[in-house]
C-alpha cells in the first residue's frame, strides 16, 4: 500500500547546511561526523566534516559537538482537537512534538466528538493541515462512539486516511467485537491499536495495586487488568491472522504475553512510554496528580521488565501517550484527577538521561526505538540518507536543563518529569522538510 499522506500546515522548505555534527542513523549504518546539506527540504549531500562550502543560499548551522538524528516518530499522542482545545490543539501539540525532536505524530481519536466517521476524520485532518507544525497521522475509533458496541465504517475511514483504529482511553472489552474488527481488517487494512484494560479488574482504581495503594487507601489497578487482555487479544489476532499493536505496555506479564505471541508468529507489536520506563508507583506516594496515568505506574520489577523488553525488541517502539490536561482538571484530589501526563517535550531527554547515560540502553538503540513506529503504521521511516525528505533533529547531548524551566510548547503543563534535571536538548527539528522547531538560544552561524 502506498504511504499515506500525513497532515501538516504549509511551511517553507528548509535550505540549510549543518556542519560537523555527529550523524547517527542506525538503520542506515550512519554513525560519525559529517557535513549535511539540506536544500528545499531534501537531504542533498553528506560529506566529510568541514568540506562543504558555506558560500551558498540558506542557513549554516554549527553542529560540532552535537548529534544529528532522524526525527522521532510518536505513534500515540492526544492532540485534543476537536472539542478539548482548552487542553491542547494541533498547533500547540505539534509545537510540543517538534520541541521534543518528533517529526511525525499519530493522534488518538478520543476527542469530542470521537473520530468515528469519515466526515469527522476529514474535518480533523483539514484542521491539522492548517495548524500542525509536524505531520499528523490519525487513527479512527474501532467502535461507534468508542463505546465498544458496533464497528465504525472502517473501510470508509481508511479511504479517508485513517492509519488504523483504536478505542484508546478505553479497552475493547468485547472479544466478539474485536474479532469482527480483525475480520474487517482483511478488507480495509490498518493497524488495530489496543488500550488493554479489563474494566472488571480496574474499576475504582487510580494507581497500581500494591503495598503503596494498600497504605494510601487509593483503589488499586492490578497489572493483570492489562496483561490478561494482551494475552486474550494476541490470541484473537493470531486466530484471525490480524495485525494488532499494543499500546503503553506497563508490566512484566504484558511483556511476557507479547513475547509469547511474537514467538508464535502473530503479527503483533507493542509500545512503551518514557514514564513507564522511568517511574514506578513509588513516584505516586506524594499523590501528585501528574503521576496519575492509565495504565498506572507499576512496580520496579515491572519497570525492569519493560526496559528489558525494549532492549530485546519484544517491545518495538517508544510512544509518549502525550495526554495534556488543564491545570484546573489536574489541581484536584488524586482520585478525582483525569489520567495522563504530557511527554513529547521530555521523552528523548528523559530517556537519554536515565537510560543511555547510565549505560542501560545504547543511544543508537534509543534512536531506533524512537523512530520504529513509522514502519509499524506503514509510514516512511525518517532517515539521514541522501535523497530523502529532511526529517531530522539536531540535539546537544551535553546540554543540561530542568524540564519546564522555560515553560512548555504544549498548552498544558501536567508533565510527570517537570522539574527534573535532564541531559540532552533538542536544538532544531526539521519535519517534512520544514523547520518546525528551533531552540531560542540556538543561533545560526550565518544566513543568506
Amino acid at each position: 500500500m502506498a504511504a499515506r499522506q500525513l497532515a501538516h500546515s504549509e511551511m517553507p522548505l528548509a535550505s540549510l547546511l549543518v556542519r560537523e555534527a555527529h550523524l547517527l542513523d542506525p538503520r542506515a549504518g550512519i554513525d560519525g561526523p559529517a557535513d549535511v546539506l539540506i536544500e528545499n527540504g531534501r537531504i542533498v549531500e553528506i560529506a566529510e566534516p568541514s568540506t562543504l562550502s558555506t558560500e551558498r543560499r540558506g542557513e549554516v548551522l554549527e553542529g560540532r559537538g552535537r548529534h544529528l538524528l532522524p526525527a522521532f516518530v510518536d505513534p500515540h499522542v492526544h492532540l485534543r482537537s476537536p472539542g478539548q482545545e482548552h487542553k491542547e490543539d494541533f498547533e500547540t501539540g505539534t509545537r510540543a512534538a517538534a520541541a521534543g525532536g518528533f517529526g511525525a505524530v499519530i493522534a488518538m481519536p478520543n476527542t469530542d466528538p470521537v473520530l468515528d466517521s469519515a466526515p469527522l476524520l476529514r474535518s480533523a485532518t483539514e484542521a491539522a493541515g492548517r495548524e500542525a507544525r509536524v505531520p499528523v497521522g490519525f487513527l479512527a475509533t474501532i467502535s461507534k462512539g468508542s463505546d465498544g458496541q458496533e464497528l465504525t465504517e472502517m473501510a470508509e475511514l481508511r479511504a479517508a486516511g485513517a492509519l488504523g483504529f483504536t478505542d484508546d482511553g478505553r479497552p475493547v472489552t468485547s472479544a466478539g467485537l474485536l474479532r469482527k474488527a480483525l475480520q474487517y481488517q482483511r478488507l480495509c487494512g490498518g493497524v488495530l491499536t489496543l488500550h488493554e484494560e479489563d474494566p472488571s479488574l480496574s474499576r475504582g482504581g487510580s494507581m497500581c495495586e500494591g503495598a503503596l495503594s494498600a497504605a494510601l487507601g487509593v483503589g488499586g489497578i492490578p497489572t493483570i487488568s492489562e496483561s490478561t487482555m494482551v494475552a486474550r487479544d494476541a490470541e484473537l489476532a493470531g486466530y484471525e491472522s490480524g495485525r494488532v499493536h499494543f499500546q503503553h505496555l506497563s508490566c512484566e506479564a504484558s511483556v511476557r504475553a507479547l513475547a509469547a505471541a511474537k514467538e508464535r508468529g502473530y503479527d503483533v507489536s507493542g509500545e512503551v512510554t518514557p514514564h513507564h520506563l522511568l517511574l514506578t508507583d513509588e513516584d505516586v506516594r506524594g499523590l501528585d496528580t501528574r503521576m496519575k496515568m492509565n495504565p498506572p505506574l507499576a512496580s520496579e520489577q515491572d519497570r525492569q521488565a519493560i526496559i528489558e523488553g525494549l532492549r530485546s525488541g519484544v517491545i518495538d517502539c517508544v510512544a509518549t501517550d502525550h495526554a495534556p490536561h488543564s491545570r484546573e482538571e489536574k489541581e484536584v484530589p488524586f482520585e478525582q484527577a483525569p489520567m495522563g501526563t504530557t511527554g513529547l517535550e521530555t521523552a528523548f531527554a528523559a530517556l537519554y538521561t536515565e537510560l543511555v547515560l547510565p549505560g542501560i540502553v545504547d543511544l543508537a538503540l534509543l534512536v531506533e526505538r524512537m523512530t520504529a513506529a513509522a514502519a509499524l503504521f506503514e509510514l516512511p521511516t525518517p532517515t539521514l540518507l541522501v535523497g530523502e525528505a529532511a526529517n531530522v533533529t539536531l540535539v546537544d547531548l551535553e546540554s543540561k536543563w530542568f524540564a519546564g524551566e522555560h515553560g512548555w510548547g504544549s498548552r498544558s503543563d501536567n508533565c510527570c518529569f517537570a522539574g527534573r534535571r535532564l541531559r540532552g536538548k533538542v536544538l532544531l527539528t526539521v519535519a517534512a522538510g520544514a523547520i518546525a522547531f528551533r531552540e531560542r538560544a540556538f543561533s545560526v552561524v550565518s544566513a543568506r
Partner: protein, 310 residues
C-alpha cells in the same frame, strides 16, 4: 505540629503528647462549666464533604469547649452543588482567615492538598479510604485509659479493611504505641500487601482468642460500589464479633456507626465490655487536644504556598 494530616507522619512521642493533653482536658468535661478559654478568639472551620454525626459534632464541641469560634460548612446546600471546585471553595472560605480547617472528604490526600492552599492549620477528619487520624488518637486514648499502655497488646482489627480509613490510621497508631496488630477479614476486603503497614493478616477468626482487643470495623456500604462479600449473612456467619467468639477478658471497640447484627452482635454492642461509648466520650477530649496542639501559642499566619503544579 503544623497540621494533623495522617498518623503516618506522627512519632510515638507526638501521639503520647496529644493523648496526655486529652487526659488533662477530660477533667474539664466533668466540670459544671465545661469550657476553658484556651483558644478564645480563634476560628475553626468545619468543612465536611461527607456525612458525619459524631466526628463533626465532637470537633464542634471540642472547639467550643476551648472557646474558639466555629463555622460549619457542609457541601450539601452550598456552592459545591453549583460545581465549585475544592480549591475555589477553600480559597473562598480561607478569605475569612480561619485558624484551623477541619476537613472531611471522600478523596484520598485532599486534606494534604488543602494544606497547600491556605495558611490555616489543617486537621484531617477523614480523606477517602486513606486516614482518619483523630479516630486513631481517640482509640489510643481509650485503650490507654483501660490498659495503661498498649505495649505488647494484641489488637485484632476485623472486617472491611479495604474500605476503611479507620483501619489504616489505627494499624499505624497501634503499632507506633507498641501493640501487635493483626487484621482479619474475608480476602476480598483485605488489600493485597496491607502487611507492609506493619500488621499480620488472617482470613479467619479461628485464633481470635489470642487478641486482647478486638476492633470491629463497620461494613462500609456507602463506600462499596459492588458486592465484596456474597451476602451480609455469610459475612456475619464468618466474621461477626459475638459472644461465641469473644470472651469477657477481651475488649471490643468499634468506630461507629454500628451495623447491629452484621459486624457486631447486638448483645456485644450492649455489653459492658465494649468501649463504644468510651470512644465517643474520648472523641471530644482528644479533638480538644489536637486543636490545642495546633492552635495554642503564637501562630503566624503563614503565606499561602505556591500551587503544587508548577
Amino acid at each position: 505540629m503544623r497540621h494533623l494530616l495522617s498518623i503516618s507522619e506522627l512519632e510515638r512521642a507526638d501521639i503520647e503528647r496529644i493523648v496526655e493533653q486529652a487526659a488533662r482536658f477530660a477533667e474539664v468535661s466533668d466540670r459544671e462549666i465545661k469550657k476553658v478559654p484556651a483558644l478564645r478568639g480563634r476560628m475553626v472551620l468545619n468543612l465536611f464533604y461527607e456525612a458525619s454525626t459524631r466526628t463533626r459534632s465532637s470537633f464542634e464541641l471540642a472547639a467550643k469547649r476551648l472557646s474558639a469560634d466555629v463555622v460549619n460548612f457542609a457541601s450539601g446546600g452550598s456552592s459545591v452543588e453549583k460545581g465549585e471546585s475544592l480549591k475555589d471553595t477553600v480559597l473562598t472560605l480561607g478569605a475569612h482567615k480561619p485558624d484551623a480547617i477541619v476537613i472531611r472528604t471522600p478523596w484520598v490526600g485532599a486534606a494534604a492538598l488543602v494544606a497547600g492552599w491556605t495558611g490555616a492549620a489543617i486537621v484531617n477528619a477523614g480523606d477517602g479510604k486513606h486516614e482518619h487520624p483523630t479516630q486513631a488518637l481517640l482509640d489510643v486514648y481509650t485503650l490507654r485509659q483501660k490498659l495503661g499502655a498498649l505495649d505488647g497488646a494484641s489488637i485484632w482489627i476485623v472486617g472491611d479493611v479495604a474500605h476503611s480509613r479507620v483501619a489504616r490510621s489505627n494499624i499505624l497508631a497501634f503499632s507506633r504505641m507498641g501493640a501487635n496488630v493483626t487484621v482479619a477479614g474475608p480476602p476480598t476486603l483485605i488489600p493485597r500487601e496491607i502487611g507492609a503497614l506493619g500488621c499480620e493478616v488472617r482470613f479467619s477468626l479461628d485464633e481470635i482468642a489470642q487478641a486482647d482487643v478486638v476492633y470491629a470495623l463497620r461494613m462500609q456500604h456507602e463506600r462499596m460500589s459492588e458486592a465484596w462479600v456474597p451476602s451480609l449473612r455469610e459475612y456475619a456467619a464468618a466474621f461477626q464479633i459475638n459472644r461465641r467468639r469473644v470472651s469477657a477478658r477481651q475488649l471490643v471497640m468499634h468506630p461507629g456507626p454500628v451495623n447491629r447484627g452484621v459486624e457486631l452482635s447486638g448483645e456485644v454492642v450492649d455489653s459492658p465490655r465494649t468501649l463504644i461509648t468510651a470512644q465517643v466520650q474520648a472523641g471530644v477530649v482528644v479533638r480538644m487536644a489536637v486543636l490545642y496542639e495546633l492552635l495554642s501559642g503564637a501562630r503566624t499566619f503563614s503565606p499561602v504556598p505556591e500551587p503544587q503544579l508548577a
